[in-house]
C-alpha cells in the first residue's frame, strides 16, 4: 500500500521558459498537487534561498536545478546550497541537458541528490516525474526559513 503523499513545495531554477512549462505541466498531471515556484537565474535563486529577498512561507522541500544559468552558474548555486546548514537538507535534483562527465561528477560530488538528463522524448518527462520523482518525499515538518 502506498502512503498518501503530501504536496511538495518545489523550487525550479530554470531559465528556459519552455522547459519550465514542461515541468509545470508534468507536475500538474500528478495526483498530488505540488506547489511550484520558478526562478530564472542563479542569483535570484540564491537571493531567495539565502533570505536576501523577503519571501513569505517556508523553504522548498525539493529543488530542481538547471546547470547553465545566467548570472550564477547552477553548480555554484548547488555549492552554496550545500554550504548552508539548513539548505543542504533540501534534496536538490539537477535537471539539465548537459551530459558532460565533468558536470555529472562535480554535481554529485558537491551533493546533488540525483542528476537527471532532460529527456529528448515526450514520455521521458512523464516517466521521470512519475517514478523517480516519488522518492522525494515531503518533509513532515516544513523547514523554517533562516532568521
Amino acid at each position: 500500500m502506498k502512503k498518501k503523499k503530501l504536496p511538495l513545495r518545489i523550487l525550479l531554477i530554470e531559465d528556459d521558459p519552455a522547459h519550465a512549462e514542461i515541468v509545470r505541466r508534468n507536475l500538474s498531471s500528478l495526483p498530488v498537487s505540488h506547489i511550484l515556484m520558478c526562478l530564472e537565474d542563479g542569483q535570484a535563486a540564491l537571493d531567495y534561498l539565502l533570505g536576501q529577498v523577503p519571501v513569505a512561507g517556508p523553504l522548498p522541500d525539493l529543488i530542481l536545478l538547471d546547470l547553465r544559468l545566467p548570472k550564477v552558474d547552477g553548480l555554484e548555486v548547488l555549492r552554496q546550497i550545500q554550504a548552508d546548514q539548513s539548505l543542504k537538507e533540501i534534496p536538490t535534483v539537477v535537471l539539465t541537458t548537459s551530459a558532460a562527465d565533468s558536470d555529472i561528477a562535480t554535481a554529485l560530488a558537491i551533493g546533488a541528490a540525483s542528476y537527471q538528463l532532460k529527456p529528448v522524448a515526450f514520455e521521458g518527462f512523464t516517466e521521470l516525474f512519475g517514478s523517480d520523482f516519488d522518492s522525494f518525499q515531503a518533509s513532515p515538518h516544513p523547514r523554517k526559513r533562516r532568521e
Binding site: R68, P70, T97, A99, A100, K118, V120, F122, G124
Partner: protein, 572 residues
C-alpha cells in the same frame, strides 16, 4: 840455455831483446870482471846464487805481467760487449754531423751493417719531417751544454720510420765537440699513445657534441665535465658553469626553486648511502629518486624562460666507488609549449562540444516534448496554438544557434588577405557600426593617437573591436558619464591593445565564463551571448591572447589583448 826457454813469450823476437840487453850492458860500462879466473870457488858459488835469485825474480815478474795482460783482455771484451750490445743505440757524432762511432744496437735498430752507419751523416737516418726536431735539439745541446732529450722518428734502411727517444750529451776530443747520442725504441709506447689519443678523441667528440646539456658532477659536488651545449640551452658559456658551481641553482626559475631544492635534497640523501656503500647501495628502479626525471624552468642569460627535463644518475668507478652524478638536461621548451597549447585547445574543444551539445539539445527537448503535448491537445485550438508557439520559438532558437556556430567556426579558416592597417582606421570603422548605441547612451569614446599598425584580416579585426565596443556599451550600467577608451601599451616587448570602460564591471564569478559560447551572463541584456567568444576567436586566429580585467562590480572593465605582428609604425 835453460833459463832462456823459461822466459815468457815476447811480442818481439827473443834474439833482438837479447841484443838490446847486451847493448844496455855495454853502455853501462859494467865489464865482466877481468879476474873471474881468480875468483875462489866460494866467490863463484855466491855470484851464481845471486844470478839464480835474479833469474827467479824476473820469472815471477814476468808471470804477474802475463796475468795483468789477461785481465786487461777480459775487461776489454766485457766493455766491448757492454757498448755494442747495450739495449740502446749509441752513436757519437762530430760537430759537422758525421757519425763517428756506433754500437751494434744502433746499427741493427736502423737495419744497417755497422760499417755502413759509420761515416754517414746523422741527418740521413732521421725522417725528413723530423729533421727540425733533431736540429733544434742539437742546437739546444750546443748552446746550453747540458744533455737534451726529444722524441723523433728515424728512417730505417728499408724506408720505414721508427719512433725513438733521443738523448744527447756533449763530449770533446782534441779537434772539437763530439755529440754522444743514444736512441731508445719507443714505437710500442707511441702506438699506445696513438690509441689513447684516438680513443680520447672519440670520447671527447661524443661528449662535446652532445645536443643536450650534459655534465658530470663529482662526489664532492664539483663539476668534472660540462658539455659546451650548455650555452645553446642557457646562453651561458661552459666556463661560467665551471667557475661558478652554483650557477645552475641560481638560474632556476623562482617558481620552480622549491621543486629543484627538493630534488637536490633527495639526491643528497641518496648520496650519503652511495658514498658509504658504493654501487651496492644503488638499485636502478623507477622508484629511485635518481631515476626520476625532474621538470623545471630556468631563466636563460637573455631573460627568456626554458623548460628543462633534468635527469641525474649516480656513476661509479671501476672499483664500484661512488664518483658523482651524470646529469642530462634536455631543452623541452618547444615541446612543452606545444603540449600546453594542445592541452588548452583540447580543453576548449571539450568545453565547446559540451556547450554545443547542451545548447542544441535544449530546444530539441522543447520541440520533442511539445510535439507530445500537441498530439494530446490537437482538438483544443487554444492549447494547440500555445504548444506550437513553444515549438516555433525553440526551432528559431536552434536555427540562430546553428547560424552563429557556423559564423564562429569560419573565423580563422576562410579569411581575407591579411593587410597592414592602422589601429585608428579599424576602430573608426567599428565605431560607425555601433554609432547608434553610442549616441543613444551618450558615451564619450577616446582613441589613442599612437601610430600603431595592425596586421591581419581587416573585416575580422573590425568585427572584434565592434563586439568589444558593443559589449562595453551594453554593460555601462547607470554610469552618468560613460566613457570608453581604446588604447595600447607596451608590455614585455609586446604591444597590448585595450578597450576600457567605466561601466558595471565584471563579477569575479563570471570571469571564467566570459569568453565562453552562448554565455549570456545577464539575461536582460540583448545579444546572442556569442560576442566575446567571437572576439576571442578572432584574437587567437591572429596569434594573440585576450583577458578581461575588472576591480569588481561598478568599477569598470578592461579587455586587454595582443595581436601578433602589431607594431609601432614609424611616422613618415
Amino acid at each position: 840455455m835453460n833459463t832462456k826457454t823459461n822466459l815468457p813469450p815476447e811480442p818481439s823476437p827473443a834474439g833482438s831483446l837479447r841484443e838490446k840487453a847486451e847493448a844496455h850492458f855495454r853502455m853501462r860500462n859494467e865489464a865482466v870482471p877481468e879476474n873471474v879466473e881468480t875468483l875462489s870457488p866460494e866467490e863463484l858459488r855466491t855470484v851464481l846464487h845471486e844470478l839464480r835469485v835474479h833469474q827467479i825474480e824476473l820469472e815471477m815478474q814476468n808471470e804477474e805481467l802475463r796475468h795483468a795482460q789477461e785481465a786487461l783482455d777480459a775487461a776489454r771484451a766485457r766493455y766491448f760487449e757492454l757498448f755494442d750490445l747495450a739495449p740502446v743505440g749509441y752513436v757519437t757524432v762530430s760537430e759537422a754531423g758525421m757519425i763517428l762511432e756506433s754500437n751494434l744496437t744502433a746499427a741493427s735498430l736502423l737495419g744497417l751493417p755497422r760499417g755502413e752507419l759509420v761515416k754517414r751523416r746523422i741527418g740521413s737516418v732521421v725522417l725528413p719531417e723530423d729533421q727540425d726536431i733533431y736540429y733544434l735539439t742539437r742546437r739546444a745541446l750546443l748552446e746550453a751544454g747540458h744533455p737534451q732529450t726529444c722524441a723523433l722518428r728515424l728512417l730505417k734502411a728499408d724506408g720505414a720510420p721508427i719512433w725513438v727517444r733521443m738523448h744527447a750529451s756533449l763530449a770533446a776530443d782534441g779537434s772539437g765537440p763530439i755529440l754522444r747520442i743514444s736512441f731508445s725504441d719507443i714505437s710500442e709506447m707511441r702506438r699506445s699513445y696513438e690509441q689513447l689519443r684516438r680513443s680520447e678523441e672519440i670520447f671527447r667528440t661524443v661528449a662535446d657534441y652532445t645536443y643536450d646539456w650534459e655534465y658530470w658532477q663529482g662526489a664532492d659536488g664539483r663539476l668534472i665535465y660540462l658539455s659546451p651545449s650548455c650555452e645553446r640551452i642557457t646562453g651561458y658559456p661552459r666556463e661560467n658553469f665551471l667557475e661558478n658551481n652554483s650557477l645552475l641553482k641560481a638560474i632556476v626559475h623562482p617558481e620552480d626553486a622549491e621543486l629543484f631544492a627538493a630534488h637536490l635534497s633527495a639526491m643528497q640523501k641518496e648520496d650519503s648511502a652511495l658514498l658509504r656503500e658504493g654501487r651496492a647501495a644503488f638499485t636502478p628502479s623507477a622508484s629511485a629518486p635518481s631515476c626520476a626525471e625532474v621538470d623545471f624552468r630556468i631563466i636563460k642569460k637573455d631573460g627568456s624562460v626554458a623548460h628543462l627535463v633534468h635527469g641525474c644518475q649516480p656513476v661509479f668507478d671501476a672499483s664500484g666507488a661512488y664518483s658523482g652524478r651524470r646529469v642530462s638536461n634536455r631543452d623541452a621548451t618547444v615541446r612543452r609549449q606545444a603540449e600546453n597549447a594542445l592541452q588548452k585547445k583540447n580543453a576548449e574543444m571539450e568545453a565547446f562540444t559540451n556547450t554545443v551539445s547542451h545548447d542544441l539539445k535544449s530546444p530539441l527537448v522543447t520541440i520533442k516534448t511539445f510535439l507530445g503535448y500537441l498530439e494530446k491537445d490537437i482538438s483544443d485550438p487554444a492549447a494547440t496554438a500555445k504548444d506550437l508557439g513553444y515549438i516555433h520559438d525553440a526551432a528559431d532558437k536552434m536555427g540562430r544557434l546553428l547560424d552563429e556556430l557556423l559564423a564562429l567556426s569560419r573565423i580563422g579558416h576562410k579569411g581575407n588577405v591579411p593587410v597592414d592597417v592602422p589601429l585608428q582606421d579599424v576602430v573608426q570603422e567599428a565605431l560607425r557600426l555601433v554609432a547608434g548605441q553610442i549616441a543613444e547612451r551618450g558615451v564619450c569614446v577616446g582613441i589613442t593617437r599612437e601610430p600603431i599598425l595592425l596586421h591581419g584580416d581587416r573585416p575580422r579585426l573590425v568585427e572584434a573591436f565592434q563586439n568589444l565596443l558593443d559589449n562595453a556599451v551594453k554593460f555601462l550600467g547607470d554610469q552618468p558619464a560613460p566613457r570608453i577608451e581604446v588604447g595600447a601599451e607596451h608590455e614585455g616587448g609586446k604591444i597590448v591593445l585595450f578597450v576600457r570602460d567605466n561601466g558595471k564591471g565584471i563579477d569575479p564569478r563570471h570571469k571564467a565564463r566570459l569568453f565562453g559560447l552562448f554565455e549570456k551572463l545577464d539575461p536582460h541584456t540583448p545579444g546572442s551571448g556569442m560576442g566575446l567568444a567571437t572576439v576571442r576567436r578572432i584574437v587567437e586566429a591572429h596569434g594573440g591572447q585576450i583577458e578581461a580585467l575588472s576591480d569588481g562590480p561598478g568599477k569598470g572593465s578592461t579587455f586587454r589583448f595582443t595581436l601578433a605582428e602589431t607594431q609601432w609604425s614609424q611616422p613618415s
